[in-house]
């Protein structure tokens, strides 16, 4: 046993797969220690906040300001104000004024602004431009002018007695505050989803649930498959015929359809993550049964099995001591594959709206379903769906890798 484990850990494929899974597990455990709380808490009012660090604007006003003279600050500020759409609008005005398009570089902010300052004149009315468009340009111009002037921003508070505004502070363009001085800073590594929930936190919890679903489903499927395979292969005869008949039936009738029918029959209310896992496990044992049966048939007439039979050992003892150790590697491999297919099956079910009920815990499939329902892929919120896809892929990739590694250890012909 010790030897086998050592051999398995010499396989680079297995080790890589194992490390990825171990890393994922480690992240799950440490993250839930660092950042406990309900993963489904809706923190953002609004949907799909971009990933990044969110600093309380309210707190940063009161924080102690330091003056810094940074030469690139003005340029950055202007570049930040000028959106891509604004730049294109400026280009349209400038070309309407007769400046050749080749002279204008949209990425060069200073050059563009110089051209703009030289050419923009609110009194000019280019042909075909509506009043609304001219107003837009004059607003844009005043915004730019303000930004270029670096005027101080005055903070005022309402005096409670007189009701008038009183100046309480000034922010100049050279003021900087240290992020550490600000009381409320929220880091959202993957932004928020359509409900305003922290995607990263949700994802960690979803991976945990999905792995658990995979584990439960895998255990159930392996248990059923192993039992049926052992019975069918070892006992043979009518038992074999009946079990093989059922197995053959369920190989052709797609498990996916069975899953849909059963999940739909259970109903949304009583469908928890565990129920879904059990249903997945009960519909995916077919492959294990087949593999175990063919292995057992080839073992059944080996000498050591015959010897045990002659010695009058019980059926259970023969199966446990003479057959199981020989097929253990196959069973472990089948189990790993079951886990990976179960995670995928949960995701597919959830995409159809037949996943676990949506109010309690997130799963990878549910997150995918939500992001698709709220068209994250159409409005550019990649953080809501891409990490989910990649995690599903990564989990099943590492499980498959472990499986291939084991395959190479136990089937020497496949070794590199």
């Amino acid at each position: 046993m010790k030897n086998i484990i050592r051999q398995v850990f010499h396989s680079p494929k297995f080790v890589v797969g194992f490390l990825i899974i171990a890393l994922i597990l480690l992240t799950i455990f440490t993250y839930s220690l660092i950042n406990p709380g309900d993963p489904l808490q809706m923190i953002g009012l609004g949907s799909f906040f971009k990933p990044g660090t969110y600093i309380s604007a309210y707190d940063s006003v009161g924080a102690e300001a330091n003056t810094m003279k940074l030469p690139e600050a003005d340029g950055n500020r202007l570049a930040g104000i000028l959106s891509d759409a604004d730049r294109i609008s400026m280009l349209q005005w400038l070309t309407a004024e007769g400046i050749p398009e080749s002279d204008i570089d949209l990425t060069d902010t200073t050059g563009l602004l110089n051209l703009w300052d030289d050419n923009y004149d609110p009194s000019i009315k280019p042909k075909g431009m509506t009043l609304a468009q001219r107003n837009y340009y004059s607003r844009l111009n005043s915004n730019l002018a303000n930004a270029e002037n670096n005027e101080e921003i005055i903070i005022a508070q309402v005096n409670e007695e007189t009701g008038s505004l009183e100046r309480s502070g000034v922010i100049s363009s050279t003021d900087y505050v240290n992020v550490r001085d600000i009381a409320n800073v929220k880091v959202l590594p993957l932004g928020t989803d359509n409900f305003g929930r922290d995607v990263f936190k949700e994802l960690v919890s979803a991976v945990k649930t999905s792995l658990l679903v995979g584990l439960i489903a895998g255990l159930i499927a392996t248990f059923i498959g192993l039992t049926l395979g052992l019975l069918s292969g070892y006992i043979g005869g009518i038992v074999d015929d009946i079990i093989m008949f059922i197995t053959n039936l369920f190989t052709v009738i797609p498990a996916f359809i069975l899953l849909i029918l059963i999940s739909n029959s259970i109903g949304q209310e009583s469908r928890g993550a565990t129920t879904v896992a059990i249903v997945i496990g009960m519909t995916s044992w077919v492959w294990t049964t087949r593999a175990v049966r063919s292995q057992v048939i080839s073992l059944r007439n080996r000498d050591h099995v015959n010897l045990s039979q002659i010695s009058g050992h019980s059926l259970i003892r023969i199966i446990l001591t003479d057959i199981l150790p020989y097929i253990a590697s196959y069973v472990v491999m089948a189990f790993i594959l079951q886990v990976s297919t179960a995670i995928l099956a949960e995701a597919q079910l959830s995409m159809l709206g037949l996943g676990p009920k949506t109010t309690e815990i997130p799963t990878l499939g549910l997150m995918m379903n939500w992001s698709m329902l709220y068209s994250a892929h159409l409005n550019g919120s990649w953080w809501a769906y891409f990490p989910v896809i990649m995690l599903i892929a990564l989990i099943s990739f590492s499980l498959n890798l472990m499986n291939t590694g084991l395959d190479q250890v136990f089937n020497p012909t496949l070794r590199d």
């Binding site: 597919q348 709206g353 892929a393 498959n400 012909t413």
Partner: protein, 334 residues
């Protein structure tokens, strides 16, 4: 010829049995719902209907269609007869359109999309897998992990990624649907062009997913075959490498054909979900509608049709396999 007849006879017999079983499952599973199935269905479908007489009408229609007052066996035969004649009742969500009408318009989109895609993916995957097994060093090291990773991305994931890259970022493919939303299906040139351009992304996403898994399987198969005695013997005889690779490929293909027959159900399941991403007007999207709108008759018909599709595909592959592999014929004489 006798051997083939026996083989085909067996396969047809098996097809019939699985068919009956599939119908039976479709019949039984919804009836295993706790409580009165009709009441559950009516409660789901009558949400928002305040008119009690309408709800009662729905209930009675369903009680009659399900025949809940009759014994189970009679219920089953009624259901079976209706299923054979293609009578699945009326859809809830698209009332008063008959379910058979909705399903028959969706089924061809799915068939035309999935079967070519799965076959193309299977062929490319097998070629790559055999190549990887033959070249092994270097190539194998790069291609194998890549194929493993690609085959690990779920079909809907590939669909979303392709959609975002090609339809939204590069804008070279339409975002959703099976044809332009401003068109009515007909045989005009512009309609056919629209169908083809909408076909690309779903097609390639299914192909990409099936390539990876097939390549990995074919590689192992080919490596097994390369170690067989006949390969060594052929080498001793001085037969050209090219020819040996041909033999190996043919022999390694045979289990892959059986593998296709056994995995086509899973592949179709994955591809159905990929259809949803593109709102392709096939069975996957129909199924999603049926589920989200609690359209029970539509869901039941869709699952039945998909099962039948898988059964038929498996049957056809089995028949082809029987024709290709001479051992099948020989085995029947035992």
């Amino acid at each position: 010829m006798n051997g083939y007849r026996k083989y085909f006879g067996k396969k047809i017999f098996w097809l019939l049995i699985t068919f009956i079983f599939a119908v039976l499952l479709n019949f039984i599973l919804p009836r295993l719902m706790p409580g009165d199935p009709v009441a559950v269905i009516v409660a789901k479908s009558a949400q928002g209907i305040s008119d009690t007489s309408a709800v009662k009408q729905i209930y009675e229609n369903y009680a009659e269609a399900f025949g809940v007052d009759k014994p189970m066996t009679i219920q089953f035969f009624t259901y079976f007869k209706n299923a054979l004649t293609g009578d699945f009742g009326l859809s809830f969500s698209q009332y008063p359109r008959p379910v058979s009408d909705i399903v028959s318009s969706a089924v061809w989109w799915t068939v035309a999309l999935q079967f070519p895609a799965i076959i193309v993916g299977w062929l490319i995957g097998n070629l790559l897998g055999a190549l990887a097994a033959y070249i092994r060093k270097g190539f194998d090291k790069v291609l194998m992990p890549l194929a493993l990773f690609v085959s690990s991305i779920p079909a809907f994931g590939v669909a979303v990624i392709l959609l975002v890259i090609f339809a939204i970022k590069l804008k070279i493919a339409p975002i959703s649907g099976g044809y332009g939303f401003d068109m009515i299906p007909n045989f005009s040139w512009s309609f056919i062009m629209s169908v083809i351009s909408h076909y690309q992304l779903p097609f390639w996403s299914i192909v990409l997913v099936s390539i990876g898994g097939q390549a990995v399987g074919m590689r192992s198969m080919s490596i097994y075959e390369l170690n067989e005695d006949y390969v060594k013997y052929s080498r001793f005889l001085g037969i050209k490498d090219r020819k040996i690779v041909g033999y190996v490929f043919r022999n390694a293909m045979l289990p892959q054909i059986t593998g296709l027959a056994l995995s086509i159900g899973t592949m179709i399941g994955g591809a159905l979900v990929a259809e949803i991403i593109f709102s392709y007007p096939g069975l996957g999207t129909t199924m999603l509608q049926a589920i989200s709108q609690s359209d029970y008759p539509l869901l039941s018909a869709t699952t039945l049709i998909i099962t039948l599709m898988v059964l038929a595909a498996t049957f056809v592959i089995d028949i082809i396999y029987g024709l290709i592999d001479p051992r099948v014929k020989a085995a029947q004489f035992d």
